[in-house]
Structure formats: C-alpha cells, structure tokens
C-alpha cells in the first residue's frame, strides 16, 4: 500500500538579505494512512516550513510532495484548491487561530462555505455533529471564542479541521500552549478521532513525552536536514543518532526520576545559523562522536533496517542486524 503523503528530496529556500536560506534541505518522508508521524526538532530546524510546504502555503524550491500519488508541488492556488479538503491544519495558539468576531458555529462552518459544500441546513447539522464529536455542547455554536478556555478553543480548531473530512491533519504544536491537565484531554481526543475516522496526523512538537505517546513514526530534523527517521515506536528507547540521544537526555523525564537517575551529559553549543551551516554533518560541531569525515562530508540519510533511517557516519549495523550507536571517542594524551 502506498503512503498517504510522501515527500521526496524536498527543498524550500527563502530569499533573505544575506542570500538564500535553505530552511528545508532535501527532506524525504512518508505519512501512512491512519497513522501519526511526529516531526521533532528545535527552533530553526525547518519543521514549520516543512508543514507549510505540505499545506501548500509556501513555495517549494524543488522536490516532490505526493498526496495518494498525485503531485502537489507546482500547482497554482486554483489547482490546489480541490486538494485542500484532504489536508487541514490545527495551529499552536488557539487564541490567535480563531477569528474573535465569528461565532464558533460560523468558524466551524467556514471551510464548508469556502468549498461550497451542502446547503445551510445540512451545514448547520454538520456543525452540531462536529461540535459533539470534539466534546462541546451544541450551545457552543452561538458563542464566541473569548467565551472558551484554551483547551476548549483547541477543540473548536479541531472541529474546524474535521469539517471537510480530511485525510491528513497537520498539527503544529497543538498542545504546547495548554496546561498539562488540559493537554491530556486534547491528546486523548486526537487519538480517539484517529481510531474512529482513520485520519493521519503530521504532529509537529518539541515535547518528547507527547511525541513518544502519540506517534507511530518519528522524524527528527536538525538545521533543515533529516537526522533520523523511524517507523517504530521503540525509536526513543535506544536512539542511534547522537543528536536524537542528546534530545532524549536533555528532556527531563519522570521515568528518570523514579529510577533515581540524574546528571546527564549536556549537549554544548547552540544550533548554528541556517544561513551559514557548518560543512560536513551539520551536527558535527556539537557532536561528541565527531571524527574527520563528519566535518568533511554531509552524511546521507541511509536505511539501517526495515524501520529506521539515520544520517550519521558513525552509526553501524552489526552482523545480526542490531543498530549500534557510535562508540565514544577515546581521549588521547
């Protein structure tokens, strides 16, 4: 079965005063039907640009994005419109992404109005169904966004995203603005909707705890490049790529507290500017396993086994197929 959405060698460049900035650099990924792909990375890694490219909101420099085999790159706005119902989006900030002057009912109805679907009667019924679906009372339809809490607003945003029966919802940090107790409600809702409706999610997040919970597959980006990709939920257990290891170690986890572990090695330095990326592997200046080749040649994303890909010169695969993370360098002198 082919993937719902696949990107191949996607490049997005922005023109800046200091020359072209390659925000996304030859990235490939697949999102399977009814599954969640988590896209993880720190600021400036290109994850939001990639999401915008998939939404058709930014010009793709080269590469391809295929939705069920149909090419989306190079389409004009008019040609893209029939594809829009299939890909919808939920934004990070539920305060900024809902028009404060429209009633909730109108907000949820709007995608159907734009796509000219149904009569006002059928749309009204659909709005009430959707609100019920996301756990809001039908009275919500006549209320305005300011009357709702952050978690409830995010439910409205999800109802709006569902209005056109999408195949894929791009969720850009959908729970980062929410309190922990409310975050769990929204995550549970997303998982439940996926089970019932078979929707796929591209779930962008920097919160590893959330990602580990919700994702079937994971892609980690660093400075515009794909560092590692895996379709296994075991991905975070024993990460092979040094950056993925560092991300895991940098995240305080309750697991570690229960086990009484403290004091992880701390990744030094910061993410370099994408305008002037370091030569060779982009992570090499911060990598504790870096050797000469890492500073000279950019490692390609290579397949390790049927479920994982990694862009690192130092990751090896043993004869029995187990993936070996890099060995620490022996300190000389």
């Amino acid at each position: 079965m082919t993937a719902l959405l696949s990107c191949r060698d996607l490049v997005v460049e922005y023109a800046t005063a200091d020359g072209p900035l390659r925000a996304v650099d030859r990235v490939s990924l697949d999102i399977e039907h009814g599954q969640t792909l988590a896209l993880v990375g720190e600021s400036g890694c290109g994850k939001s640009t990639l999401a915008r490219a998939i939404m058709g909101l930014t010009r793709v420099t080269s590469g391809s994005i295929k939705l069920e085999g149909r090419e989306l790159v190079g389409l004009s706005a008019r040609e893209f419109k029939p594809h829009r119902p299939s890909i919808q989006m939920v934004f990070q900030n539920p305060y900024g992404s809902l028009n404060p002057r429209l009633s909730v009912g109108r907000i949820v109805e709007e995608p159907m109005l734009i796509q000219k679907i149904g009569t006002s009667e059928t749309r009204r019924k659909r709005v009430l169904d959707l609100l019920d679906r996301v756990g809001l009372a039908s009275a919500a339809a006549t209320q305005y966004p300011h009357q709702f809490s952050g978690g409830q607003r995010q439910r409205v945003a999800i109802a709006r995203a569902l209005a056109l029966n999408p195949k894929l919802i791009v969720c850009d940090e959908p729970v980062s603005a929410l309190d922990v107790s409310v975050q769990a409600q929204v995550l549970n809702l997303l998982v439940e909707l996926q089970k019932d409706l078979g929707i796929s999610y591209l779930f962008i997040s920097h919160d590893l705890a959330v990602v580990r919970h919700i994702a079937h597959a994971t892609a980690v980006m660093y400075l515009g490049r794909m560092a590692a990709r895996s379709t296994s939920r075991e991905f975070w257990k024993r990460p092979a790529h040094p950056y993925v290891q560092a991300l895991k170690e940098a995240t305080p986890s309750m697991e570690a507290i229960r086990a009484g572990i403290s004091g992880h090695p701390i990744l030094e330095g910061e993410i370099p500017s994408a305008l002037n990326p370091p030569p060779g592997c982009r992570f090499s200046p911060r990598c504790r396993y870096g050797i000469d080749i890492c500073r000279r040649t950019d490692p390609p994303l290579r397949q390790l086994n049927d479920r994982s890909w990694v862009a690192c010169h130092r990751v090896t695969v043993a004869a029995d197929g187990t993936v070996e993370p890099p060995e620490p360098l022996t300190v000389q002198g």
Partner: protein
Amino acid sequence: MKPILEVRDLSIEAGPKAHPIPLVQDVSFSVAEGSTLAIVGESGCGKSVTAMALMRILPEPAVRISEGEIRFCDEDLVAAPERRMQEIRGNIISMIFQDPIASLNPIQTIGDQIIEVIRTHQSISKREARKRAIALLQSVRLPDAEKRINYYPHRLSGGMCQRVMIAMAMAGSPRVIIADEPTTALDTTVQAQVMALLRKAQTETGTAIILITHNLATAAESAKDVAVMYAGRIIEYGPVREVFIAPAHPYTQGLLGAIPDNADGDGEIAKLTEISGNVPRPGTLPQGCAFEPRCKSAQPQCRQQRPELTMSGARKVACFFPNAELAAQ
C-alpha cells in the same frame, strides 16, 4: 538546615479594596541556603504572583499583599520600605524571568546593562565593573564574552540572552534567586544547559533557588522540595521525590497521570488520565475544596468545607481523603 527565606501565610488580592479578588491565599513555604524549592502549578494558580510578591514588584495598588510575612533572616520584607527593597532587589534576592529577550533592554548593550546592575549595588569604577561583567559572562559560559559584551540583545539567541539574564541575576551575589519559568521559552537542549548553569551557580555560591515552573519533570530534576499550587493555594508540599513518586493529593495525582510517560511499545496508544474540566478563575472559587468540582474522589464533605494544609509524614497535604496508600504508611 536553617531556612534563608521564609514565607508565612502570604495572601495576595486584586481589585477594589471593598470587594477584593483573592489571587493567593495563606501560602507558606521556606527555602534553605544552597537548596531549591520548586513551585509548580498550571496557569492562573498564583505561582508567578507569589514570585512577584517576594520581590515586592506587584503592580500595586491594583494587586497587593493583603496578609502574611516574607521573612529574610530577621527582616519582614512585607513591611520593608521601598528604599530597603531597592537594596534587596538584585543584591540579596534577584529574579530571572521567562522571556529573556523581552527582559533585556533592546537599546542598550548587554555589557552596559550588567555594568548598571553591578554599579547600582557596589561602588566600583566603570573599568572594574566591566571586568567583573566579563567574568560573569564567562562564568555563565557565554562564548566570546569579551566581544559579545558590546552586543545589543537582538544579536544573541534566546539561550544566550537567558545566560546574560543569569549573569545579571548573579551580579550582586544574591542569597536567593527566583527563577520564573526560566527555560520555558528555550529549546530542549538549551533548556538543559540553562538548568545545569543554575545548578552550577548554586553549588558555587550556595544561593537558594525558588524555581517556578509548570513542568513537573523540570521541577523533579532540579528541586529538593516542591510546593504544588492550585487556585491560589498550596495543596501539597514536601520532598520532591516523595511527592512525585507517591502523590497524595488527587490534583497532584491527576497532574502526574496526565503527563505522557513510558509510552513506547508497538501496542495501542494508551489513554492518558484526564482531569476533567478547567482551572477555575480567581474570584469564582467554590465554597469547599477548590478542586472538588474536578476531583474523582470528592465526597459531600469536600463541597462544604475547605481542607487545611496539614502535616502527613514528611509532607503537607490539603485534602480530606488523600491517597489511601499514604494513609496506610
């Protein structure tokens, strides 16, 4: 160890004096030299207002301390005159804010801003102050400190700005640092760097840290004690490991259950424990326990009476029916 800062029955209110809205009620905690107390809670629980009260930087008279004491050594800061508070701020108690970029003056170089802090509290020459500023920036491991001291904040990343803020907070060798969500605006790997830096500063100078955060895992990693706040009150307070491994209050239990954890494995995605409903807004608190409307184990008593924070082993809990396991111990 003897507490260096002790807060007793602190209450903070807002709005007109005739009909005040309580924001924080009867909050008591203390922090000892060289140790860290984490105050955790969700938005609107009163944790940031409490931090501002400790520095006496509440937007008075709109928001004000209505009752209680903030004792530093033998002094009550609630009663201290503004002149004395100016000596204390930055010198004895200093603060690190959530948004490092917004906390720095954009039209002054970072060097000038640190020098200003140093010269406010110590009568030394500009040249001396500059040397000290560079040393401070080096101690927070800002790369190229000698060059970057002449930079304006916009040329630094968020992580670097937070290093500058920490350098500034350390400038007066404070006895207490209040860090209000110091890593929330930063990237994961930079968060770990900043927390490590705070711990390093703490071991070197013996300063006490009050860490205010919504992230339970961050609190668990850095603090010795934790105070969990809900709707303006502390509802559970005790040693961090104990509280997080065996939470006694249903709210603490709910918070910990709501964090996705140990979710690896190819099976079905498990359902997270939810706390139903929303955090109540100040001024709309129920008569009994503030958590009662959202509580799974609420009893009729919880609706009528508000549970006091009472000692239970090494910790304090404000609940009539705390975790059964704990009661058995």
